[in-house]
């Protein structure tokens, strides 16, 4: 064995990272943990509550409803954005001057601040003055997203599709352009149809980037807050109150810090768990 001299000075170099991680992740998270297991009435006085808040949150209809709405929202936007994104990526030019034009146009929605997206769609969809809302009513469709849950849902989904499909497009496009030209030639020589080329060459070759696209869209949509709070504020009633909006209502609206902290942790672990399961399944598939 070669004995190494132990240099304690090495610790010195780790300190910045320790501080950084501590202040931006560990301490805030521990504060939440702190609130989740205790009751406080201010003045830094805490009473131990154990799992009470967790039981309360997990057994409440309110949480169940918000959770179901969340699952439904995420499923719908994934089912729309992923196929739509792939379709748009497939129809974009592969070379020539239009490539950059398309890419910039596609990237535009991603560059707009989230609350501006919410405000834009709010105004756009207002039944009395918004272009969309007014036009729909003018042609005889009864549409009012501030009063009808269905209209509110459709508007929310439209907004998310408008805002985020670009991300799927850009990722899918990157995957497509990485396929060597020779694959297409070989397929052409084999006499493969367009559908066959898509199914047997393009889709398998895009698998990795699509995995990432789905993961990102899942996480972001599961945590959607800013656009939604500006657009519908969770209404009408509770119809578009997804998990994050519900959480804010609980924590800041009612100032129920204990249950809110417990819910935050549950929320966090749900996202983590689904991502992990999803990723493991995709990667397992990859290896076979």
């Amino acid at each position: 064995m070669i004995s190494k001299s132990v240099k304690q000075s090495a610790w010195f170099f780790v300190i910045p990272v320790v501080f950084l991680v501590a202040f931006n992740a560990l301490i805030p998270l521990m504060t939440v943990v702190n609130y989740a297991f205790q009751e406080t009435f201010g003045d830094n006085v805490f009473f131990w509550e154990g799992l009470t808040w967790f039981e309360q949150v997990l057994n409440s209809d309110r949480f169940h409803d918000a959770f179901l709405r969340q699952i439904m929202f995420t499923s719908i936007i994934l089912l729309i954005e992923v196929p739509l994104g792939i379709a748009i990526a497939l129809s974009m030019p592969r070379k020539g001057p239009w490539v950059s034009v398309c890419l910039v146009l596609m990237a535009l929605p991603l560059l707009i601040p989230w609350n501006v997206v919410g405000a834009m769609w709010n105004i756009f969809a207002l039944p009395d003055i918004g272009l969309l809302g007014y036009s729909l009513n003018a042609i005889g469709i009864d549409y009012n997203f501030t009063q009808q849950p269905i209209s509110a849902w459709i508007t929310t989904i439209l907004m998310d599709v408008w805002h985020w499909t670009s991300l799927v497009v850009l990722l899918a496009y990157a995957g497509l352009t990485a396929i060597p030209e020779a694959y297409y030639q070989a397929a052409k020589i084999d006499g493969a149809s367009k559908w066959a080329v898509f199914k047997w060459i393009q889709l398998p070759k895009m698998k990795r980037v699509l995995t990432i696209a789905i993961l990102l869209r899942f996480m972001d949509s599961f945590m959607i807050y800013t656009e939604l709070i500006v657009l519908t504020g969770g209404g009408p009633g509770n119809s578009t109150t997804l998990l994050s909006i519900d959480l804010v209502k609980l924590a800041l609206g009612q100032f129920d810090l204990g249950p809110a902290a417990a819910m935050s942790l549950v929320y966090f672990f749900v996202v983590l768990l689904i991502c992990w399961v999803f990723y493991t399944l995709m990667m397992k598939n990859e290896q076979q």
Partner: protein, 356 residues
């Protein structure tokens, strides 16, 4: 199937990729397109395949004009430098894919794939996923796909370039045999003169979008029509020098002189060009020394390539390379004598045409 290019040219965005070219390939021949990168090998292959339409001229297969026949209907197969296989298919399904497209019956597909897999030593991998195999095996699958199709024309675009040395050597030997048995006409593009020699058959040397010369590989190697062809078909690069003929003597001024060869007699006395392949410059004086002329120069670099040595020398203003078997060590600046084999000398006129 015989292949004929009739004055075919290809111009893309004002750039000439192929100058008007005519080339006629016999049925079931093994043909090599030899040329440097961007000399137009791939474009020629693509024109034959029908992946590109010629800007002018016609492509004929077995006496029929196929210029405007689509790729699918030409019954061709193509293998690329990259290992192109269906990523999600098993090895079996990959090899079977052309047969499935052709609508063959299940048991026939199984039999044919089995035979080809046997031939290419892929039998034990038939159930495996393509991605899990090595590069050599992946390229074998691509070759198997080309073979199983019984295409009338098989186009190979530097298929061995991405393989490691050993596999390349091995496949180089196997390929002509495989395709000879298949009855397909083969066109094989490569940038390596050695590869062209090993593969045999016919060769077309290409330079900047033109076919310089076409013929039997050995003929072209021994008797290139011009300097360009000799240059393309030599690796390491062919050595060149100006020579002067006066009466019956030929000399590299100030270096060496020798008797004028038969073919040279009667030509006017003036400057010509000589080309000597590196392996015709030996480091040791041969026994039949009347056919060898000593040339002296200074060593610039001595490198070892495989089991032979490459000595780069400066000989009165010309950079020459000698290639000889064995490992020889020389130091820079050393003066050495090399012995030029007069029977290996190629003579050219000043405009580059060969004098045989």
């Amino acid at each position: 199937m015989s292949v004929e290019l009739k004055n075919v040219s290809k111009i893309v965005d004002g750039m000439t990729h192929i100058h008007p070219t005519s080339l006629s390939l016999e049925d079931q021949d093994f043909n090599v397109l030899l040329g440097a990168t961007l000399s137009g090998k791939t474009t020629l292959l693509r024109l034959m395949a029908g992946l590109e339409r010629p800007s002018s001229g016609e492509v004929w297969f077995s006496g029929q004009d196929v210029t405007h026949v689509s790729v699918q209907k030409r019954n061709i197969a193509m293998v690329y430098q990259e290992f192109i296989n269906y990523p999600n298919f098993s090895v079996f399904n990959n090899i079977a894919s052309p047969l499935k497209v052709a609508g063959k019956k299940q048991d026939q597909i199984r039999r044919q794939v089995g035979e080809i897999a046997e031939l290419l030593k892929l039998s034990e991998f038939l159930d495996r996923d393509v991605a899990s195999l090595s590069g050599g095996q992946q390229q074998r699958i691509a070759l198997a796909r080309a073979l199983v199709k019984h295409a009338s024309l098989v186009l190979l675009d530097e298929p061995l370039a991405n393989l490691d040395y050993k596999l390349r050597e091995q496949l180089r030997e196997e390929l002509p045999k495989l395709f000879a048995a298949s009855g397909s006409t083969v066109v094989y593009a490569t940038s390596e003169p050695e590869e062209a020699l090993m593969l045999g058959g016919h060769v077309a040397t290409l330079h900047e979008g033109r076919v310089v010369q076409y013929g039997k590989t050995t003929d072209i190697y021994r008797r290139p029509e011009n300097l360009e062809c000799a240059r393309i078909f030599s690796h390491p690069p062919i050595n060149m020098a100006k020579i002067v003929k006066s009466n019956d003597l030929i000399s590299i001024p100030g270096i060496a002189g020798w008797q004028c060869p038969e073919s040279f007699r009667g030509r006017p006395d003036r400057e010509y060009v000589i080309g000597v392949r590196p392996h015709h410059l030996s480091l040791t004086n041969m026994e039949n020394s009347d056919r060898h002329v000593a040339v002296s120069g200074t060593v610039q670099l001595a490198e070892i390539s495989g089991s032979s040595s490459l000595i780069h020398m400066r000989i009165d203003g010309n950079d020459w390379i000698s290639e000889s078997g064995g490992i020889h060590a020389y130091s820079m600046g050393e003066n050495i004598n090399v012995y030029m084999n007069l029977d290996g000398c190629l003579y050219f006129d000043q405009d580059g045409t060969a004098i045989h």
